[in-house]
Subunit: 359 residues, 2 copies
DNA sequence: CTGTTAGCGCCTTCAG
DNA sequence: CTGAAGGCGCTAACAG
């Protein structure tokens, strides 16, 4: 053993240092530092330990803790997405904030949608002893998970297992939870708010026809129209990429073949911005001549655009929070097998008005 | 019961297991698994070890490695930003990709711009033995770092130490590197490309007057104008938030007080979108009647808007990459003391045309 | 109620 | 070229 305090401040103080200074054993230090339940420590001993901790500014070494406890106060957050859209920002924010409250940290990985990289990422995260795993996608999508994931509690955010179509519901209890936005209800709500405003004349400039979200939203939209006595088959439905330019193109095509509908539903807010741009460039006033409804409630976009977009909110932050809460709250460890559907509430802003008086 | 079979059979194989199966010592396993330099292992022994690794699907435990080596193959990425803008997405993407190549992972934290939380975050990251730290902000800004950060190699992305104004240049060598976009050159370039197109009649709808980026960009813009014989004081300069609605408001005010300039420079792309919207709604064609120039080259916005924005690219992805490269590349560890300025190249698209013929 | 004693899984001198 | 031994810093079982 080397002469105790001869090191010139370089070495980080260890639990042994604290124990020595407080005149107790290392175990005792551990007990008071961690408030170990079932161990009552005398007031004076506790004081001495705490003072020593303070004096040395001792902080426990997480790697050593991890080695011992097999846990790491860490959640692996995997974004299974293309490089361009690499991270699911709002979901990360939600998960981060909850994790932070629990003293856990997020370790981030992106996979570029490659199954090989997904597998590698999960293996690596498990090597790092993450306590739990969140797998998220930007667009709702079916994914296939490597088996590695079964070794940790896992939440799927915005994606689901199962080849296509609807998520598969495992029959056996599992440590896998699925969190999905209720897009069908969202599509329904968007149509509903337009119907309520008096619209009977729709165009739906939807996203890519093969995207799960699109299919769901259109289904909900159709149901709402039908229920209101409006035949969805007589309304205009077109598809495009979920981007501004696609919305712009679609809107221009729509404008070219007047008469216009009284309301345009858009696949998402970016498409709606394209629509707004095209409408403006064609001299058509929103919402006086035609109303526009978006989808997503995208940050720094939907509320900020002029006129501000009436839209349907995708609860990404909430999904991130829910995922982390589920993983970190001890009383929630009874994993439900069926997917949990999160609501997509309508947000009413200026781009929706009553239909213009028919001439 | 620690160690007993509460875990149903699925104990992870350890190095000892591999050693036993291969009939060698643990050290030998370590040597071949890590290709330890200066240790030559016989071909047949190596084969036996590798086979055992394969057979048991052995993977080293990172926590144990970390305890032993005091490293963690991990970079702490701190976004010192408000909750809404919690993550610096493109910079994270850049840093992630480089880290991934080096087998390192990013641990993410946001601080909500609170110095207290920044301090806590850094302390925690150090407890977790991160090998290095990246501190990033969304808007370029001066920050004050807690001393804790001196214990690791650190890169500041988009922020700098020093009370205000220009970043302070430490006189002593330091482990702190600063990466900043050359906003002044960016502002210059934006003005320059407009001047080259023939414009002499400007409006600059800039961001908040107290933001560092704004000050820099305006300075560069002024220099370019002056150099071209255009008096910047006779051009219109207005300030607003870096959001779509602010651009919209500013543009409406501009339109109300004709005559219009021939080109409108915007504080960023979001403001430019607001300008585009306002112009469209006023029946003014871009770029035929007036040209618009953005800033940022924001993903899914600048290139996608119609007309597509001529803009100045903020090299956030590159800055993230540069930060991680600097931290991970052994041959780059000679930290420069002065900030490194990254170029902001002009991206020419449709929203810039020649000035309209003066009547 | 406190202290002693083993390891957690790995890396790294140091002998052989 | 290979194996034995010690310890990184901490926690959990078991005495005292």
């Amino acid at each position: 053993m080397e002469g105790s305090e001869s090191d010139p401040g370089e070495r980080r103080p260890t639990m042994a240092d604290v124990a020595r200074r407080a005149g107790v054993s290392r175990a005792t230090v551990s007990f008071v530092v961690n408030d170990t339940p079932g161990q009552s420590i005398g007031m004076q001993t506790r004081r001495r330990v705490l003072d020593a901790v303070e004096a040395l500014s001792y902080r426990p070494n997480r790697a050593a803790q991890g080695l011992r406890t097999h846990r790491s106060a860490t959640i692996g957050f995997v974004t299974h997405e293309t490089p361009e859209r690499s991270f699911a920002d709002p979901a990360i924010t939600g998960a981060h904030d909850v994790a932070d409250e629990f003293g856990s940290r997020l370790v981030l990985v992106t996979t570029g949608r490659s199954p090989v990289r997904l597998r590698a990422a999960l293996d690596d995260l498990i090597d790092r002893q993450v306590d739990a795993i969140i797998v998220a996608t930007s667009g709702t999508r079916a994914i296939t998970l490597p088996d590695a994931v079964r070794s940790r509690p896992t939440v799927l955010v915005n994606c689901f297992e199962g080849e296509a179509g609807r998520p598969s519901v495992p029959t056996l209890p599992t440590r896998l939870t699925t969190l999905l936005p209720d897009e069908q209800a969202g599509g329904h709500a968007a149509a509903r708010v337009a119907l309520d405003a008096g619209h009977r004349n729709f165009a739906f400039l939807a996203g890519k026809a093969d995207s799960w979200a699109t299919v769901e939203r259109v289904a909900g939209y159709r149901t709402a129209l039908t229920a209101a006595g409006v035949d969805p088959r007589r309304q205009l439905l077109a598809h495009g990429r979920y981007e501004i330019d696609a919305g712009h193109d679609l809107a221009r095509a729509l404008i070219a073949t007047r008469p216009l509908p009284t309301v345009i539903l858009c696949g998402n807010d970016r498409m709606a911005v394209g629509v707004l741009l095209a409408l403006g460039q064609a001299g058509i006033q929103v919402p006086d001549e035609v109303s526009v409804i978006g989808y997503d409630d995208q940050f720094a976009l939907a509320a900020s655009v002029r006129p501000a977009l009436t839209t349907v909110r995708l609860p990404y932050v909430e999904m991130g929070r829910a995922a982390a809460t589920h993983l970190l709250c001890p009383d929630r460890h009874l994993a439900p097998t069926a997917p949990q559907w999160l609501p997509c509430p309508v947000v009413v802003r200026d781009s929706l008005g009553p239909p213009r008086a028919v001439p």
